[in-house]
């Protein structure tokens, strides 16, 4: 079994050899490490992408817009990922963004996971039949875990989810009521003596 340290170092060096700057290669190393840590085949897809990159031209999204249309070429997931991390606070204002023709969408996944942590919001990343819920870079829920993930996504949507409860007010109230059973009813004597200020906490 390869260690994550080996995975990061090799992905970084391979990315430099594939023509990216050292700074971007460092980002790829971290992201592939993360991808493998979360159980997604980052090494496999990176390897395929770099092999393809020798033969096929890809396009770069430099400034991310709400809608990012392809000029015919597929977009590079690495440059998009790095720019997404850099520009996430601006992109968040769009609430969601669309990307047409993204190559190797799985390679974008760890960049989005890191972005989710940076802005403190969950992100929903979807393309074709695949959906990924990115939880502050702490976990990823997906319907595509352990399934073959396509190497081209025709239509990608990235949505910024509002920080909202996953439960109803009634659920909360019921649970809170139960929690109150750990509190002690205060008698007059306890009201006087058990808190530092007693009954005279106004000045």
């Amino acid at each position: 079994m390869r260690s994550l340290s080996e995975i990061e170092t090799t992905a970084k060096r391979a990315s430099r050899a594939a023509g990216y700057s050292w700074g971007i290669a460092e980002e790829v190393g971290k992201s592939i490490r993360l991808s493998e840590l979360f159980g997604f085949p980052g090494i496999k897809h990176l390897n395929q992408y770099y092999q393809n990159k020798k033969k096929i031209k890809f396009s770069d999204i430099k400034l991310i817009n709400k809608t990012n249309k392809s000029n015919g070429l597929s977009f590079c997931p690495i440059i998009l990922g790095v720019n997404f991390i850099d520009q996430v606070k601006n992109v968040e204002n769009f609430k969601s963004c669309l990307i047409e023709k993204l190559a190797y969408p799985l390679l974008l996944l760890p960049f989005l996971s890191r972005s989710s942590e940076i802005i403190g919001k969950k992100l929903l990343f979807s393309f074709d039949q695949s959906k990924f819920l990115l939880n502050f870079n702490m976990s990823i829920f997906s319907n595509s875990w352990n399934k073959e993930i396509p190497i081209l996504a025709n239509q990608v949507e990235i949505s910024f989810l509002n920080n909202e409860d996953n439960f109803s007010d009634q659920d909360w109230k019921n649970l809170y009521k139960l929690a109150e059973d750990t509190f002690v009813e205060e008698t007059d004597s306890l009201k006087q003596g058990a808190a530092g200020a007693g009954l005279t906490d106004n000045d």
């Binding site: 079994m1 260690s3 700057s21 971007i24 460092e26």
Partner: protein, 553 residues
């Protein structure tokens, strides 16, 4: 009195970093302190008459066990090399997490002796190999087997029976990643498991030499005197592999240096020093003379430094005894200011290290701050603007911005990774091929270029905009924002200049390991000794914490 931390622009120069010495903060000393109440055991010692075979040593506390597995193999004299190109060694070691099963020992027997081309598992924590100092090992065997103790002069000259030529950890070759074990309290300090491996290897070397001598002459052999054992350490040959580490781990480097600087600041701020503390300090300084006079090297560079150091330490002792009054307020501040005025960099840092000896209560809490969660600082704060970044460069890299990189001498060297050994190397850019595959270690040059590109830009431009067309400088933009928060994270020198002395970078790291007797064999590799004078494993429960300065007592 509030003493300022020392200026990174002075302390982080390579000549100063290359003058650092071991101290109570050093990793091998903090390792001993942490594991002193663990149960030590030799679990297996299955060597043949010549000393070849397998041995296992362990440290245990409650349910936690760390086991060193040793494989001693026969190699021919012409196969023995300290260089990284070697493929065979007298012994190979791994530190296993837990008690190894027979299956583990058998599995590892096929892998550990192969070192870099072997595969370890997440159950192994560190990996190393070592070669005998043949003349010392053979001499000790010969002497012991004849019923005599060995020649102390020879032992003092070399200082060890074996020297390691590499110690690997943190996920190399399949070893456990740091994240798997980082929450264990006992290893909350850098390189603690590497130190454990080296320490247990030292004990293996004593057991092996006794075993071989006994088998050579069972009737008359004697055991190596424990006092002699204590004065032997483990040698280590270290090359350029260590140098990039201190550039590639800026927050870790900061935490090491910052701990040292905080310790010094707090010691200088002590108004009245207790008699027992001043006496201990003076004793350590005086005893340390023996450490300097027994420091053997053929390196002219190091000999010059040792001579200067010896002269200055003697001058300092004279000052302490004849001129200095410890009754003054803030005596260590006075001493420090005197050192800055009167002595060389090597001596200043040497005495700074000794100043820490009496003050465990200051030093020990700092040991816990010497690790780093590097991931936390990886992301570039790309919503900051050009003005912020320019200010950081002007404030934190002021000397670096003065370097003229148009001059050939400022650009002469480049760092690369060798294809055959995957190890860092340094070469002349204008004479050798490969500069196009240069590693990102020319920080000063790239910082200067970054400043040049930022200068004409609008101050309000966001870094995420700047990065779109300047991704080639992304690695140093990240560093600059790290340096803003971590003042001692960056070497304030040119690491590709003609005058670069790479062993300064190695010495910095080795001093934090706790190495003694740096012996440069060229400007790119050196030998050192670790644990010389340290207590033996069965003495750990009650040992003298100042053993470094009592090696020969």
């Amino acid at each position: 009195m509030n003493i300022e931390l020392r200026d990174p622009n002075i302390i982080m120069k390579l000549s100063r970093l290359g003058s650092f010495h071991q101290s109570r903060l050093s990793f091998l000393r903090s390792f001993l302190n942490e594991f002193k109440d663990w149960q030590y055991n030799r679990d297996l010692f299955d060597l043949d008459q010549k000393g070849y075979g397998t041995a296992v040593y362990s440290f245990k506390k409650k349910d936690r066990v760390y086991s060193l597995i040793c494989y001693a193999n026969k190699i021919n004299d012409d196969e023995r090399s300290d260089r990284v190109i070697a493929t065979k060694w007298d012994a190979a070691f791994t530190l296993h997490d837990g008690i190894p099963l027979k299956d583990d020992i058998d599995r590892l027997r096929n892998e550990v002796p192969k070192q870099e081309v072997g595969r370890l598992s997440y159950k192994e924590l560190t990996l190393s190999r070592a070669n005998r100092s043949v003349r010392v090992f053979d001499h000790v065997v010969e002497s012991l087997s004849n019923g005599n103790q060995p020649d102390l002069e020879l032992l003092e000259k070399v200082g060890y029976l074996y020297r390691t030529t590499a110690v690997y950890g943190s996920g190399k070759f399949g070893l456990a990643d740091r994240f798997r074990i980082k929450n264990r309290e006992e290893i909350n300090g850098p390189f603690r498991l590497e130190m454990m491996l080296v320490y247990l290897v030292r004990q293996f070397t004593f057991d092996q030499v006794n075993h071989v001598a006994k088998n050579k002459n069972p009737n008359s052999a004697v055991r190596l005197d424990p006092k002699i054992c204590r004065n032997l350490g483990i040698g280590n040959s270290t090359g350029l592999g260590m140098a990039p580490f201190i550039i590639n781990h800026p927050t870790l480097l900061n935490n090491w240096i910052l701990s040292r600087e905080i310790a010094l600041k707090k010691i200088r701020e002590i108004k009245i020093v207790k008699i027992k503390d001043r006496d201990l300090f003076k004793d350590c300084v005086k005893n340390s003379i023996k450490n300097i006079t027994s420091w053997n090297t053929e390196s002219e560079y190091q000999l010059k430094k040792i001579k200067l150091l010896l002269d200055d330490v003697r001058k300092f002792i004279n000052f302490l005894e004849k001129e200095f009054d410890f009754e003054k307020n803030y005596p260590f501040n006075e001493i420090y200011l005197w050192l800055e005025r009167e002595t060389c960099e090597e001596c200043i840092e040497y005495i700074v290290s000794i100043m820490m000896e009496p003050f465990g209560e200051i030093v020990q809490p700092l040991v816990k701050l010497m690790s780093s969660e590097e991931e936390k600082y990886f992301n570039i704060p790309s919503d900051r603007n050009v003005e912020d970044l320019k200010k950081i460069l002007e404030n934190k890299y002021s000397d670096i911005l003065k370097i003229d990189f148009k001059k050939e001498e400022s650009n002469q060297k480049f760092w690369f990774i060798s294809k055959n050994k995957e190890e860092p190397r340094l070469a002349n850019r204008f004479e050798e091929n490969g500069a196009d595959l240069e590693q990102p270690l020319a920080i000063a040059r790239d910082i200067k270029e970054l400043y040049k590109r930022l200068s004409p830009l609008n101050d309000n431009l966001k870094i995420n905009q700047f990065l779109i067309d300047n991704s080639d400088l992304r690695h140093v933009i990240r560093r600059a924002f790290i340096t803003e928060k971590f003042p001692y994270s960056e070497i304030q020198d040119n690491t590709i200049g003609k005058n670069l002395v790479p062993i300064d970078m190695l010495r910095l790291k080795l001093s934090f390991f706790g190495a003694l007797k740096f012996d440069p064999r060229s400007d790119k590799w050196l030998r050192i000794c670790m644990f010389q004078g340290a207590p033996l494993p069965d003495e750990l429960k009650d040992y003298d914490e100042h053993w470094v300065y009592k090696t020969y007592s």
